[in-house]
């Protein structure tokens, strides 16, 4: 079934038919002892899947709760289209939340949990809508069960159905998959993404799991310390991070100290421990002085000393393999470089060459278009130690 197609016959309790953009302007939340969100500006286009990604304590959940109306901002505004909802009561906002631990009503069965929002608004043909929603999340058979009798994955789907049935203009998801095991989490990610595409509503998803954000979201905003570090599509963020935090938090990065020697045209040349490397100008976020040269581990190629490497430019001899982890689809190497830094290199196990051993002498290389350059004043370890 398609919910989007059903929109025409829903009760006319929505203020307007057309979906509206969510806009946060200079949103700030101060608690007694710290500032959770600092002057945040954010625009979420209607109908997109938006992820707020960041480590715990970065302010992402507080931001979400302000949009839901469960927390009031210290300053700043929240708009839906042209309507300001900053101070609107939570029960008057066309916004629903899938809570972190689901917050299902334990005294009501699945059917009544899902019907809760519709009943409060006095909607007609509640039974039919609940039935359709339970079909969408494949829980028809569990309709009479109470939440405590259900598994985590089932509870998660009830929570999703309970929020979704109200067809909110914005659906907020607060770490909705955090309590599930890895396999189920992957399955639910695809499921939620499918449902979002099907219903076409705006989803704002809060998570600390970068893989989850990349799998599901059209746009990701990486949050750190109450501010947004960078915003863009998953590929954009991954391929061209602007800060060391994003480079380390979203996947992993090799960051190598270097000094800009020239910046002309569309190439920035950098001296890296005696080797000249070039970086495309649109990926160089400093134009002079010192910087961090960044390269993703899977972009780093290694080959036994003297053998040809399939990459033009940036050829770095003199590496020694110090660690080898075989993880099935790929092998992860640590390579000690002549200047005393270990670089990570991930290699697909294509079988074209034998897997290298610890102590092997290797040459290292990467294609210049994959490197990026970040300001040297940023902490090289920012975001690196904050994995799950």
């Amino acid at each position: 079934m398609s919910l989007a197609a059903d929109r025409t016959d829903t009760p006319a309790d929505r203020s307007s038919g057309a979906p509206r953009d969510l806009r946060l302007t200079a949103l700030t939340k101060e608690f007694a002892t710290f500032t959770a969100v600092r002057s945040l500006d954010l625009e979420v286009p209607a109908g997109t899947f938006f992820a707020l990604l960041g480590p715990s304590g970065c302010g992402k959940t507080t931001t979400l709760r302000m949009v839901a109306g469960l927390e009031s901002p210290t300053s700043g505004t929240i708009h839906l289209g042209n309507d300001e909802i900053t101070w609107e009561k939570p029960y008057r906002r066309p916004v629903n939340t899938v809570f972190q631990n689901y917050a299902l009503f334990p005294h009501l069965d699945v059917r009544e949990n899902v019907a809760f929002g519709l009943r409060r608004r006095g909607a007609k043909d509640v039974d039919r809508q609940v039935q359709e929603m339970l079909e969408l999340v494949e829980l028809e058979a569990q309709a009479r069960k109470k939440p405590p009798q259900m598994s985590g994955g089932q509870q998660q789907r009830v929570a999703l159905a309970r929020a979704l049935i109200n067809r909110p203009e914005v659906l907020l998801l607060d770490e909705p998959l955090g309590a599930l095991d890895l396999k189920l989490r992957r399955a639910m990610q695809i499921e939620i993404k499918r449902i979002q595409t099907e219903v076409g509503l705006t989803f704002v998803h809060v998570t600390h799991d970068q893989e989850e954000a990349m799998t599901m979201a059209d746009t990701i905003a990486v949050m750190n310390g109450g501010v947004i570090e960078q915003m863009g599509s998953p590929t954009e963020l991954y391929e061209n991070p602007r800060t060391t935090f994003v480079a380390n938090f979203l996947g992993q990065s090799n960051l190598i100290a270097g000094t800009v020697t020239s910046a002309e045209g569309d190439v920035v040349r950098v001296d890296m421990h005696g080797t000249q490397v070039s970086i495309p100008a649109d990926r160089a976020h400093v134009r002079s002085g010192n910087g961090w040269i960044g390269i993703r581990p899977e972009k780093v190629l290694v080959a036994p000393e003297g053998e040809p490497i399939d990459a033009p430019g940036n050829h770095l001899p003199g590496g020694v393999i110090t660690d080898v982890s075989f993880v099935g689809v790929s092998t992860q190497y640590l390579v000690m470089m002549p200047w005393g830094q270990e670089l990570m290199a991930f290699e697909q196990n294509t079988g074209r060459r034998r897997i290298l051993q610890q102590g092997d002498r290797v040459d290292v290389s990467w294609r210049p278009e994959f490197a990026f350059l970040l300001p040297a004043d940023q902490d090289v370890n920012a975001g690196a130690l904050e994995e799950v």
Binding site: Y91, A103, F105
Partner: protein
């Protein structure tokens, strides 16, 4: 697991023995007393003659007191429920760091004896006490009206004495409620009052049931409040039983009335629990 098989029974044994000696045997004796020959006396001795008519005699003769006990206790329970719910709700959700202090205050009256506390109410409600004076000054009471020796005094005494038994179970069940459920209700278009009716109240029902039982059962059998704060017009069944046992020496009637009161309370409790449907709640 052979060793653990009987552990549960061993652990139950002390309490079972205690109840056997101090509840089952006395209850049997009470039941036997209620069936004594009504002609017996301390001098001539008593015989168990299975004189069931004791019950009809006692009930018909003391119907007023029985009925009064039930409705005084019922009204006191209702007032306790309203006052207690407000108090427990405030302590559980609004008290913040004062929570423990307020709980201690709820329990504080237990540090003084029941009798002393009830006697002090006699002073509070006295004809020249400040409450009566104030109400008379405001012309809410006539000059000759009194509070003592009225149903108001007895019910007020019952409410005061049993309020903590209402507050504590209510607090325990309110405090357990996950505030995120209340947030979820408000996220799902429930105004604060709807959210209370649909989420908070149903989830606190175990506390409501426990509190009302802990209040109603002892209140229905209470005789101290009626004796100290009431007059002969506010006599409750407890006063009658006490008189029959200690003054009149009519053991058969006293026993029959005690058993009747117990039977009525058990019946009411069963109906109440069925109606409240607390087994549904986790």
């Amino acid at each position: 697991m052979r060793r653990g098989r009987f552990t549960g029974y061993w652990l139950m044994l002390p309490a079972a023995l205690w109840l056997g000696v101090f509840f089952v045997i006395p209850f049997y004796s009470l039941l036997a007393t209620s069936l004594y020959d009504p002609e017996g006396s301390v001098l001539t001795g008593y015989d168990v003659t299975y004189h069931v008519a004791n019950f009809w005699d006692a009930i018909s003769e003391h119907w007023d007191e029985l009925w009064r006990s039930l409705w005084y206790a019922g009204l006191a329970t209702l007032i306790c429920a309203v006052l207690g719910y407000l108090l427990a709700y405030a302590i559980a959700f609004k008290a913040g760091r004062w929570r423990n202090f307020l709980l201690v205050l709820v329990i504080a009256p237990f540090f003084t004896s029941f009798l002393v506390r009830t006697l002090s109410w006699k002073l509070i409600l006295a004809d020249d006490g400040f409450i009566v004076d104030a109400l008379q000054t405001l012309h809410l009471m006539g000059d000759d009206d009194r509070l003592l020796a009225t149903p108001v005094a007895v019910i007020a005494g019952l409410v005061y004495n049993f309020l903590p038994f209402m507050v504590l179970p209510l607090y325990a069940s309110l405090e357990k409620i996950d505030v995120r459920l209340i947030e979820a209700a408000s996220d799902l278009y429930a105004s604060p009052s709807r959210g209370f009716l649909k989420v908070t109240l149903p989830l606190s029902m175990p506390g409501v049931v426990a509190g009302t039982l802990l209040t109603f059962i002892p209140a229905a059998g209470d005789y101290i409040n009626a004796q100290l704060l009431g007059s002969t017009n506010q006599r409750m069944v407890g006063n009658v039983i006490q008189d029959l046992f200690t003054d009149t020496g009519d053991y058969a009637a006293a026993g029959a009335l005690s058993v009747t009161l117990m039977a009525i309370i058990v019946a009411l409790v069963v109906i109440y629990i069925r109606k409240a449907g607390t087994e549904e709640l986790l």
